[in-house]
Point group: C2
Chain length 279, copies 2
Amino acid sequence: MRLAMVGLGLIGGSLGLGLRRRGFRVLGIARKRETCDRAIAQGVVDQASQDPRLLGEADVVFICTPIAAIVPTAQSILPFLQPNTVLTDVGSVKASVVSSIQPLWPHFIGGHPMAGKAESSLDCAEASLFQDAPYVLTPTPATSEQAVSIVAELVQFLGAKLYVCDPLAHDRAVALISHLPVMISASLISTCSQTPESEIRQLSQNLASSGFRDTSRVGGGNPELGVMMAQYNQAALLEGLYRYQSQLQQVIGLIEDQDWAKLGQFLENSRGDRSRFVS
Amino acid sequence: MRLAMVGLGLIGGSLGLGLRRRGFRVLGIARKRETCDRAIAQGVVDQASQDPRLLGEADVVFICTPIAAIVPTAQSILPFLQPNTVLTDVGSVKASVVSSIQPLWPHFIGGHPMAGKAESSLDCAEASLFQDAPYVLTPTPATSEQAVSIVAELVQFLGAKLYVCDPLAHDRAVALISHLPVMISASLISTCSQTPESEIRQLSQNLASSGFRDTSRVGGGNPELGVMMAQYNQAALLEGLYRYQSQLQQVIGLIEDQDWAKLGQFLENSRGDRSRFVS
């Protein structure tokens, strides 16, 4: 089976390395000649080109571009694929991508390998990036059986943990555990840094330690990624934010009412509930 | 100079170890005979007793009990101190403690060594717990010069970073960088775990990774500590929570309005601002 990566950054590069190691022949498409050369030199792909006609040789094509480019990329490469070629993508939001590409290609299945690094370049690619990481596939009733089974098999080859759900369920889950944390964490940073009294602001900066560090980490991340989450997953993120606002209002109410018993119960429940999300 | 620790848990024990290492004679008071014996055996103190009369030999006394016991402990030991003995505490909230003890003892100065561990027992005590950690002292105009200079000197001996401010400034700063994160982090856990649809809830649990882990860490901590923060620092915490609510509402407004440029600017600012709090 011949595979192809369209877009050779961290994700495309890591998929290439990981799947070549399992014996697959991997082709690569990039916009720049220099990226193609580097990918070949680094052993990420067997062959690379700027010319999409190379995709005519692929049995499975992964679109590994930034999310805004996924649908236009799919539209531009479809004319070059063999009719049975399986197409998938790696975007972190699924409903909008799937609803745009599915009608154009029955062998398309949305995917989301949930691994990354602070740096997103090809130079940071690693064969084991997806080892033990969740990899979500989002078929719809219109997705061909063949697309599901072939991509699921490749996911297993990567050592990732396969989850299968519909695109909207994926988007609502990642809104809660990935996109919501970014917004509440950035709001913490902003609240602290916009403290009106300069003495308190300065003192806060001096005294901040591990609690602030951890809670603010994702809010201090890549701004473009944060905007992308909000833009492509607006409805699910807003739904999470509204429920969060109402939860926070309840906590404020307990503190205003000095209901320490109920606040203690709430924090006790949070401690217990957390263990179901992280081990 | 002879020092005494009243309360021999993680903080009292670590202060004892750290200051004995610098050559001070350290006395200890604990409620249980067994704790006294263990503290001596572990080299935390030179001498320990359940009898507060031992404090008559101390030049500086540290109250190292949980916050609710600080004021009652001060009241019960004051009759046993020499008139010039310097008294300090290690509570994580200062205004209420200082306003209660200050009128009773001119050589009292509030203190807050900002270091800890998940486990708070004597067995976890370490001499270097306060090395490079912030240690805040909170004198008022009524505090004797002697109390400030003696405790400040001991803080330097511990290798901690000394900050001096008034008790209310301390409480407002820690409300922002320590107590506010607990409430917003616990509210995240609760929002995710109370997702009404069981499929989305289960999927969120499966897909949660480092972003959720870090943002939820302090919200999954010791519930008694969380309640204590709210109880003893209610006004400052509520002030932080109200400003946080309003900041979050602004973010929600940007997402509702699809104002991606302003959302990007907000996240860009958050990234930059964070670096002033954590290195």
